[in-house]
């Protein structure tokens, strides 16, 4: 894990959420954000974009978040890239389940655009320490 977080790849099928999250992460967090609308798109984009962190929606048509995570891990450049899941209504046992799958943490949807960057940053620092 690099010390500072700058490049974020977001995988989210919902165009409204894409726009809000991208705005929030770029304007407030000052991150460089790339958006993919599906898991398969993420598989082609991720190796060239070389993100520090991947934000992954759990529920997507076609390839869902968990499948996408497994496929990403199979790519040599992405074996260790940290992943944060985004999902609605997170129960504690679900968070534990996603962490067991290798996710850094889970961010609840809907998120507050004003504080999303802060949430992501604090998860990042907590895990870097």
């Amino acid at each position: 894990m690099p010390i500072t977080l700058s490049r974020i790849l977001m995988v989210e099928d919902e165009s409204d959420i894409q726009t809000v999250a991208k705005l929030a992460l770029e304007l407030v967090g000052g991150f460089c954000v790339e958006v993919c609308a599906s898991g398969s798109e993420a598989l082609t984009t991720a190796p060239t974009f070389a993100p520090d962190l991947i934000l992954l929606d759990v529920m997507m048509p076609g390839m869902d978040g968990v499948t996408t995570l497994k496929a990403l891990r199979a790519l040599p450049a992405l074996t260790t890239t940290p992943v944060i899941f985004m999902t609605a209504k997170v129960q504690p046992h679900e968070v534990a389940h996603y962490k067991a799958l290798g996710a850094l943490d889970v961010v609840a949807k809907p998120f507050d655009p004003m504080t999303l960057s802060k949430t992501i940053t604090s998860i990042w620092h907590r895990n870097a320490a």
């Binding site: 919902e14 409204d16 959420i17 726009t19 809000v20 705005l23 929030a24 304007l27 407030v28 000052g30 529920m59 048509p61 609605a88 209504k89 949807k109 809907p110 998120f111 507050d112 655009p113 004003m114 504080t115 802060k118």
Partner: protein, 556 residues
């Protein structure tokens, strides 16, 4: 760009997006309505359901972000409902169809409610920049007063009732300490305060340390109107004059600091349709209730006695036995006479309803039912059921169990101990020379002493211990999983504490002691023999000179 400017820019962009979203929303809802109609007309809904699910999921996910919270919640409920139908192969019953139609109508309705949530509406740059974690709330009371004997005494008396406190000579020190730990409440000696703007501002700052203001109680030398007004203006929730009535202060603290998070309502759902029960259950859970689902009405006995529902929600038509028959069986058992039964039915004729009410039903809810209606019906019934049950079981002076309820608990506790082989001790307490207290200090003073003892027992012996008042000045405590020896130690400590509590009267105060008798299971293996043995032990304690604890061990 400075952080404030970036946040402001984000706010502008979000407002634009919100407007766009709101403009597109009617079309998206129209699509959902159309695809639902198409699906119902089509012979094979299984293939079309995932598309509808997808569209609803999308609304559920985005609505809240753009200020359509109510719509998002309805969409979320519908999404789960559709999901469980798809998981079970996609077959739609007439009831399911009707329920979905209600959901979609509610979805369109709730899209009219636009309420951007506070975090997005207010430009809260301060909150974002300074969103450091709040210090943990501590279970301490801050006392701000000049060091004096009465202050030390106050702290001592508070400690008997489970409130630990910290003394501060000045407001500034208390303010600094509150940065590290938020106090449960503030007790401020009003005479000690300089009546200036600095004190007022500091009190205001202290109060607003967290989302819920810290309760402030003022203590004063005089009860004149000007002082009371000044205290109230500073946000004082109560005002006590020296010498302090500790009991009254404790009562006030108990009210201001609610120790107990509300216990969720328990709802038993009996319906053979798994998809519908899933929806009812999820909806009620989201409203903060606890549910227990029974899909086979013939297996209701165990959940009924173990889950102890506040309300039973029941389908009328079920295989094996109808809801009406089941209600009859439940109502024939005395324990459940007061438990409300709400019937759910798709086609409820007036005749059927009347018959059901005759058999003990409390209400009829028409299926399909919208989530908010379901929540309101069930919550209001559950609240009444709880209140009634509490009043039936508890002593009005002290709030502990009445004799009848305690006897019931004793029978259960002995049954449990017999089954599990675990220990159980019964303690009987009686205030010494209580008649003299009543005659000398008056009945009100006597009642207050009884209340103090109940409060002390509740505080020192929390659940699973059971406390009851046998009437007059006599209390009984059940201590499950507690053998005789540790129970004696506990009761000796409590008796010693009680003897130290001073009960205020007009001019001065008084103290009283208690005598206590104990007996344990399995030496005394039935409710009657336990009761009898503890009573004998109590008499032994009285004969031994009172203010002591005696136990009856061995068979007698």
């Amino acid at each position: 760009m400075p952080p404030e400017a970036r946040l402001a820019l984000l706010q502008d962009q979000l407002n634009l997006l919100r407007q766009q979203y709101a403009r597109r929303l009617p079309d998206r809802l129209e699509d959902i309505v159309t695809s639902w109609q198409a699906l119902r007309n089509d012979g094979s809904p299984v293939a079309l359901l995932p598309g509808l699910h997808r569209a609803v999921h999308s609304l559920a996910g985005s609505g809240t972000t753009f200020g359509f919270t109510a719509m998002s919640e309805t969409a979320r409920t519908l999404e789960h409902f559709l999901h469980s139908i798809i998981e079970r192969g996609g077959a739609l019953s007439a009831e399911h169809e009707a329920q979905i139609t209600v959901f979609i109508a509610r979805l369109c309705e709730s899209s009219q409610t636009y309420e951007p949530h506070a975090a997005q509406l207010a430009f809260a740059s301060e909150a974002v920049v300074a969103a450091v974690s709040e210090p943990a709330t501590q279970s301490q009371i801050f006392i701000v007063a000049a060091p004096d004997a009465w202050v030390t005494d106050l702290a001592n008396q508070l400690s008997y009732f489970g409130y630990s406190s910290r003394l501060f000579a000045g407001l500034d020190e208390a303010h600094v300490a509150s940065q590290a730990a938020i106090p449960l409440a503030l007790l401020i000696d009003h005479a000690h305060l300089a009546a200036d703007a600095t004190s007022t501002a500091m009190i205001a700052a202290l109060r607003q340390r967290q989302a819920f203001p810290i309760p402030i109680i003022f203590i004063a030398d005089h009860g004149d109107f000007a002082s009371r007004l000044a205290a109230a203006q500073s946000g004082g929730r109560a005002y006590f004059i020296k010498p302090l009535d500790i009991g009254a202060v404790i009562d006030k603290l108990d009210v201001l600091i609610s120790h107990h998070a509300p216990v969720p309502y328990r709802i038993l759902i009996v319906d053979d349709d798994e998809i519908l029960t899933n929806y009812f259950s999820q909806t009620l859970i989201q409203a903060g209730m606890t549910t227990c689902v029974v899909n086979d009405p013939l297996t209701v006995t165990v959940p009924l006695s173990e889950f102890r529902p506040d309300v039973i929600l029941m389908d009328v038509y079920m295989p094996g036995c109808t809801g009406l028959e089941l209600a009859t069986v439940i109502r024939q058992q005395e324990t459940y006479v007061g438990t409300p039964i709400l019937f759910l039915s798709a086609q409820a004729s007036m005749e059927n309803q009347l018959m059901a009410i005759g058999l003990g039903a409390d209400d009829f809810l028409q299926k399909p039912i919208a989530p908010d209606y379901l929540i309101s019906w069930v919550a209001s019934r559950a609240q009444r059921s709880r209140t009634l049950r509490f009043l039936m079981a508890h002593d009005s002076l002290t709030g502990v169990f009445k004799r009848s309820k305690l006897t019931e608990q004793l029978v259960l506790a002995v049954a449990h101990a017999t089954r599990s082989g675990s220990p159980l001790t019964l303690a009987m307490l009686d205030i010494d020379h209580f008649k003299t207290v009543n005659v000398t200090y008056g009945h009100l003073a006597g009642d207050r002493a009884i209340k103090r003892l109940a409060r002390l027992l509740q505080q020192q012996l929390p659940a699973p211990n059971v406390i009851g008042r046998y009437g007059g000045e006599e209390f009984v405590v059940l201590l499950p999983d507690t053998p005789l020896k540790p129970a004696i130690d506990l009761l000796e400590e409590i008796s010693a504490t009680f003897a130290q509590i001073r009960h205020p009267i007009d001019h001065g105060d008084f103290s009283v002691s208690v005598s206590c008798g104990l007996a344990s299971f399995p030496e005394h293996a039935t409710p009657t023999s336990l009761n009898h043995a503890a009573d004998q032990a109590l008499h032994a304690a009285k004969r031994a000179g009172r203010n002591c604890v005696r136990a009856l061990s061995g068979l007698t």
